[in-house]
């Protein structure tokens, strides 16, 4: 089954630029992790901070463009993995191994159409 693993963390942990030694260390961990996943990883990316996010909203068929993330929340989407594994238990096992900087949450969602 294919799942998306969405990583939510408090952006304050990343710092304003999402750069620096802490982030480099985290990126290194992600690269190792992606390597361990091998063929189970079918996609994914880290995201720049919501400070550079742009949101297109549709209301009553009218599209408007806004600065910022779709919702102001303490924890924001910081990156995601797409994986192809046997079942939810395997997805949970993998989610538990995703490196996080400090506190955070990984949301596991099965992909549609399977």
């Amino acid at each position: 089954m294919k799942y998306g693993l969405f990583i939510y963390e408090n952006e304050a942990f990343y710092g304003a630029e999402k750069a620096g030694p802490k982030i480099e260390e985290l990126v290194g961990k992600h690269m190792q992790f992606a390597q361990r996943l091998g063929a189970k990883r079918i996609g994914g990316a880290g995201l720049k901070s919501t400070a550079v996010a742009t949101t297109v909203r549709t209301a009553a068929n009218r599209k408007t463009v806004h600065d910022g993330p779709f919702a102001e929340a303490r924890e924001q989407l910081g990156g995601f993995y797409l994986i192809d594994v046997a079942d939810l238990d395997e997805a949970i096992e993998i989610a538990k191994q995703i490196p996080v900087l400090q506190d955070g949450a990984i949301e596991i969602r099965p992909l549609l159409g399977q």
Binding site: M1, Y3, A86, D87, L88, D89, A91, I92, E93, I108, P110
Partner: protein, 407 residues
């Protein structure tokens, strides 16, 4: 065989058959529907033709045919009848025909129903429905919710299990402790519901026996886990005291005032054996310690024996090391009051986060009693009023009203 007798056969076969069907076809809703349909057919056929030697095997074979037929129909319907579904007997059937027993896949079913990804309030209901065969009406009554709400909750849980890809295999060994803990918490919630009704006369009557049965089944299926044995023991100690929990006048009797001669010795002995296993396997598990607390009380032979408060307080102190929560602290305060006095216990209670306990009846009931014993009558009356405002079951209400009136 009459209606109620058929019902009993269906119910006792339900868990095993749904478990085998679910394991084989990997679809809970399909398994449940096929089993219900096979019961309907049995109710039509058995009264005329007689009950088969092994009713469970009959129900299983019919349910299985119903699933296979419906799968064939679906294939034909969507025109993709490429691969013929084999109706050759699978390993389960061969085993069944030889041994005339339906293989026991109930542990798998329990793990599926109690998967941590299933909403916690749905787990116990789903387990009682699928493993114990309770009807939606019975479960709704026991959980004091509308039938339609429960049906919706069960439907959502089954859909979640199917769509999220919850595995139908037993969990891998390294995730057993976490997964088993989810199962045990589910059974604890189910039993707490049954235990709330002290008189056993309310809608939970008969429900406690399902939990007794489930915990025994689990202890049998998972013989080498201390926490499982401990929970099975706890439920038995608690259930053993049921005959003494309510007075002739209909009010609840506190544990320390219950007549031990009324307690069920058979259940206590069974619990002692289970708890001995638990102490051997997991001596410091919080469920083992809670079992020991129950055992200390259940060792009492008569009201003339001194109440075991010092031992109870010692066990609560140990329990706090592994499970520090308001419920343990409130119970510990009760024991502390007996040894150091009500004032010391009130000081302990004052350290708790009261905002979280506003809706928690035992907190107000214990506090009211302690305040009364300290001579703080006005405050005690207020605490009793708060407890009563939370709508306790009848036996507990009468007891609280009596205490409040005696201030």
């Amino acid at each position: 065989m009459n209606g109620p007798a058929l019902e009993r056969v269906f119910r006792s076969a339900s868990g095993r058959i749904i478990a085998v069907l679910a394991a084989r076809f990997r679809d809970l809703a399909l398994a449940e529907d096929a089993f219900s349909e096979s019961c309907l057919r049995a109710a039509r056929v058995w009264p005329a033709r007689g009950v088969p030697d092994d009713p469970a095997a009959w129900l299983y074979r019919v349910a299985q045919r119903i699933v296979l037929d419906s799968m064939r129909r679906d294939r034909k319907h969507d025109g993709s009848a490429t691969e013929e579904i084999s109706s050759d007997p699978g390993p389960e059937e061969i085993m069944m025909d030889d041994a005339r027993v339906v293989p026991d896949e109930r542990l798998r079913l329990i793990f599926i129903c109690c998967h941590p990804s299933v909403a916690i309030e749905a787990r116990a209901a789903l387990t009682l429905r699928l493993v114990c065969g309770l009807s939606v009406t019975e479960i709704a009554r026991a959980f004091l919710i509308q039938e339609a709400t429960l049906a919706q909750r069960l439907l959502r849980a089954k859909r979640k299990i199917a769509d999220a890809g919850v595995p139908f295999e037993l969990p891998a060994p390294d995730s057993w402790p976490e997964r088993l803990d989810a199962v045990l918490s589910t059974l604890e919630i189910a039993y707490a519901k049954a235990h709330e009704d002290a008189a056993g006369s309310g809608p939970h009557a008969g429900f406690a026996s399902e939990v007794l049965h489930l915990t025994k089944l689990l202890a049998h299926l998972v013989p080498n886990d201390g926490a499982v044995a401990a929970l099975a023991a706890q439920v038995r100690y608690a259930e053993a005291r049921r005959p003494a929990r309510v007075s002739a006048e209909g009010w609840i009797i506190p544990l320390s005032e219950q007549d031990p001669k009324l307690w069920r010795r058979d259940l206590i002995e069974e619990a002692n054996r289970l708890l001995a296993d638990a102490i051997r396997m997991s001596p410091s598990d919080h469920r083992t310690l809670q079992g020991q607390l129950q055992q200390v009380w259940c060792s009492r032979q008569s009201l003339q024996d001194a109440a075991p408060w010092p031992e109870v307080l010692r066990l609560y102190d140990r329990l706090l090391l592994t499970r520090d929560d308001p419920i343990v602290r409130i119970n510990r305060a009760v024991a502390l009051a007996e040894i150091e006095g009500a004032d010391a216990a009130l000081v302990e209670l004052s350290h708790l986060d009261t905002s979280a306990l506003e809706q928690f009846l035992p907190y107000h009931a214990v506090r009211a009693d302690l305040l009364a014993r300290s001579g703080r009558r006005a405050e005690a009356a207020d605490a009793y009023a708060r407890a009563l405002a939370l709508d306790p079951p009848a036996a507990e209400r009468q007891w609280l009203e009596r205490k409040a009136a005696g201030l």
